[in-house]
């Protein structure tokens, strides 16, 4: 499977000899272009049109993050997998309120189930999260009865609120108290980690959408509006609990990240570069980890699971089979 490239060194990214070449202060380094799936840039990297043309030819998507680790934008190359039919069906399932609500419900239900899986896992390891678990399971019953997107989002918000309350019990670390969900900018270390992890998940989902016929601008739970991309936010809901949140619990639990890994500035709290690298290393190896897939019957990586999720969605909008969100089986 092709890899994601992560740039933390500053320099120039070039097309040379029909492959990628990075020129930094440590010298020149060639990267095999046939092995690259997407690129994430966290440092100062210069590019030019020749490179963008090459990335477009090779179907490589390029994401930018700013100094603080916030997502800034994406070079989304020319579509190679075009299907007017799928886009038409996507739009149909958005414009029909009933159809849209159906898909949105499935996203929220899938996310709730995965949240439940995470909490059950830590509950079985002696963490005091029983109250939140019961509360979430109660709220989950109401998802099917929602009659409007706004009502559904309210339930989703309530589920998240109860879920985040359990973070302090799971972590048991004074340097990483949750308090309340804050963003733009996050007000404490844990919120910073959550924001960083979530933006990585959004971009990963976007990268996988680019490799399907789906249009990333048409989302169902997150409204299609003047925002650039919505569908990746929907799909990320499924994977955030079982990937990003698990990584956060692991890194803090194993003391791989601590208070000293964060910097406090006027614009809020940000992760130091070393901390970002540690997080991404953990995420990258998680993406490559495989699970036995029940339907397929062979090992499937988490990155591939994201793609399969999108294929299921394609089938749903084309009326071939109903979308059933992925739920982790631990």
């Amino acid at each position: 499977m092709k890899k994601t490239l992560y740039f933390f060194s500053s320099g120039e990214l070039l097309r040379k000899d029909n492959t990628l070449c990075f020129e930094g202060e440590n010298g020149r380094r060639y990267v095999p272009v046939e092995d690259v799936s997407d690129i994430m840039v966290f440092s100062e990297v210069n590019i030019n049109k020749k490179l963008l043309e090459f990335l477009s030819q090779k179907e490589i998507i390029l994401h930018y993050f700013n100094y603080y680790g916030y997502y800034m934008g994406t070079f989304y190359p020319r579509e190679h997998l075009n299907s007017g039919y799928v886009i038409l069906k996507q739009a149909e399932h958005y414009l029909d309120e009933h159809k849209r609500l159906d898909i949105a419900r499935r996203f929220v239900d899938g996310a709730a189930q995965n949240i439940g899986k995470v909490l059950k896992y830590y509950h079985s390891r002696g963490k005091n999260v029983a109250e939140e678990l019961v509360g979430i399971e109660t709220l989950q019953q109401s998802i099917g009865a929602s009659t409007a997107i706004s009502e559904l989002m309210a339930f989703e918000g309530n589920i998240r609120e109860k879920y985040y309350k359990s973070f302090d019990a799971i972590l048991g670390n004074e340097d990483f108290c949750f308090e309340e969900r804050t963003r733009r900018p996050p007000k404490n270390n844990l919120n910073t980690l959550i924001s960083f992890g979530n933006s990585l998940m959004y971009t990963l989902c976007l990268s996988e959408i680019y490799k399907t016929h789906l249009d990333p601008r048409i989302g169902y739970l997150h409204a299609t509006n003047f925002r650039r991309f919505s569908l990746n936010l929907d799909v990320a809901e499924i994977f955030k609990p079982i990937m990003i949140d698990r990584i956060i619990f692991t890194l803090i639990g194993r003391k791989m990240l601590g208070k000293k890994d964060f910097e406090h500035g006027t614009e809020g709290i940000m992760m130091k570069e070393k901390a970002k690298k540690i997080f991404i290393q953990e995420l990258d190896s998680k993406l490559n980890a495989t699970i036995k897939h029940r339907d397929i019957g062979r090992p499937v990586s988490y990155r591939r699971l994201i793609r399969l999720e999108l294929y299921k969605l394609e089938k749903h909008v084309m009326g071939e089979s109903l979308y059933e969100p992925f739920v982790a089986q631990w």
Partner: protein, 87 residues
């Protein structure tokens, strides 16, 4: 699979071989490249190399490992080319 590729090619063609290999694998040392590669890309690379080299004169060897779990990699002296996807 994981591949280690070693070549000994006439000077007339060595540049072409290097440029082609660098599109698929990571350069680690003079005449040595390595990296993860899919079956499809591996076949493609072999076909492209077959067109470049002179079978009477040149030599290309690949070591194909299904997994790197049971092996280690050691370096003495200078590490010329870096691997990995964090740059």
């Amino acid at each position: 699979m994981f591949v280690i590729l070693v070549y000994d090619v006439n000077q007339k063609r060595v540049g072409k071989v290097l440029k082609k290999c660098r599109q698929y694998l990571t350069w680690v040392q003079n005449s040595v490249l390595e990296g993860e590669i899919s079956d499809a890309n591996y076949t493609k690379l072999k076909m492209e190399l077959a067109r470049i080299i002179d079978r009477e004169e040149d030599s290309v060897i690949t070591y194909n490992l299904r997994t790197t779990k049971y092996s280690t990699r050691e370096i003495m002296g200078v590490e010329r080319g870096q691997t990995g996807n964090m740059i």
